[in-house]
Amino acid sequence: MLEIKNLHVKLEEEDKQILKGVDLTVEAGKVHAIMGPNGSGKSTLSYVLSGRDGYEVTAGSAHLDGKDLLEMEAEERAAAGLFLAFQYPVEIPGVGNMTFLRTAVNAQRKARGQEEMSATEFLKVVREKAKTLKIDADMLKRPVNVGFSGGEKKRNEILQMAMLEPKMCILDETDSGLDVDAMKLVSEGVNALRDAGRGFLVITHYQRLLDHIKPDVVHIMANGRIVKTGGPELALEVENNGYADILGEAV
């Protein structure tokens, strides 16, 4: 589903190489986790895949279902089924959360040649999904993420994901800032979306999230590369011993 080959990325403004040859394939129906020290390039990878400005791909490729992601605009990637739950969700004063969701859902439908969702249908679906994430009506009315707590912002990301039903979901530290109960809610939200046609790339620092969202494959990223790939036990190893051993043996 998602195929990344030898991806090299530098900053556009500076001569700073951040990704130095990332190879990664996520198959449909699978959950892959990426762990790795701060600054190793995990968020950069997720931004480059979703089409944020400011980066220059100097080598390599990224494809979603055979389509060249790097050739597409951010909105085209979204319509093609890519979704990024942001590490730091953005506040948008003046745009209501509901308007935002509806605009996004209908824009993607339009791009795929589908009919727009009617206002009543949309309302029904959004209320249902918000309820399972314990997002109240007030949060839906407020401007996007403005004044939301850290945990509320993360739940709002998962609500967007649930509404957009993407094929390939990248979650960048969705667990950070969540209390124990919210972690469960968010994980349940993610698990509810798991199916044979959907892939997940879950970026996290903690085993705790992976207790709820069981990964099929775990990757360790360091210094702009995937340095080790293994099963769920790799995450436990990191949890217990940190990165020193793994990085030591990778070097």
Partner: protein
Amino acid sequence: MADLAVKSDPTEDRLAALTMPSCGAWGRAVREAALARLRSTGLPGRRDEYWKYTRPDTLTQANVVPAAVFQNDELPPFEGLERLKLVFVDGVFDADASDDLAETGLEIERLETAMAQDIHWAKDLYGVLETNGQTPVARPLAALNSAYASDGIVLRVTAPVARPISMIYRHENLNSDAILHHVIRVEKGASVSVLENGPAAARLNKVMEVDVADGAAFHHVRAQGRDHERRAATHIFARLGTESRFKSFTMTVNGVLTRNECVIELLGDNAQAHVAGAALGDGDFHHDDTVFITHDAVNCESRQVFKKVLRNGATGVFQGKILVKPGAQKTDGYQISQSLLLDEDSNFLAKPELEIYADDVACSHGSTSGAIDDDALFYLRSRGVPLADAQDLLVLAFLAEAVDEIEDEDLREHVSARLSGWLERHRS
């Protein structure tokens, strides 16, 4: 050597091109007095401090710069709303195109009719609020207006009026030079909404004097005409009584030059004045909001919310002042002026001022100018919203605080729809 004595005087040049309309005795007297006020200051020139950011010459000179009539097939603003229509064509009242000047709770007269009669409340207002508004800053174009206004209405509201009074200003003549003056008195406990739309003329000089009595309410929503080449200098002078409310919102899209001055005096306790504006300019566009609010009573609230979206070298100006007089305790004054610059060629010049002579007041002001937030733009796009739609959404979000000042939901939606329409037509 050149003889300085024969150098022409711009004020006298302008006056020579004008004729004072004939009217009754009191009309004559107030017009002459206004002319004297104008002569005492002269018309503003380039070095005038109050006109530092806006060149007054095309507004003050004798000759009108011709303005093409903008043809488009859109419905005019406020179409479909239940309202009493008063139509002016190039600054001249058109009775045939207008509704009957009869409405419960209202007395309406055309200015020339009122000036020929002895209508005491009109006599007490015409040029009076304008005169008060000449200090501490002179507003010569408003004095010129009081002296030479050729049309307008006088309106007295004696009860809550259901239908808005809608003034429609058509522009048909390339060279029209209109001077309109309206006088509105909202009596105790009465309320009215006044709508204005249309370019009015190639050049418009308009004054509206509004006297809001105790417990009365005045709502004003204006959509200035879209003709690209039109010029306008407008003044609103308002006086507010105890527990009265004044709300004014102006939308400006296009127009080569607009100077909107708003001068408000809060004279009764617990009064509330809100002035707001949303201006969108693309290219040859200069828009100036100049506001002066005087708090002269206890526990009053004032809000100024002005937002401008500028691109392709458009210029926005904001000069806003809150003056809190001694004794005007518990004043709550808020002022914000912001511009969204869609490129690096556009300009925003702001001069926010506070002058406070009371100790128990809460006043704030803020002025910013900036570009569209790239992070917000990417966030929207990452959710599938196409670039142009995402930009429009963020522009409308930027304008929302001003548009939300319109209390009536239908009117607010009319205005929002027009703003989105403009954005769609002006995509880069």
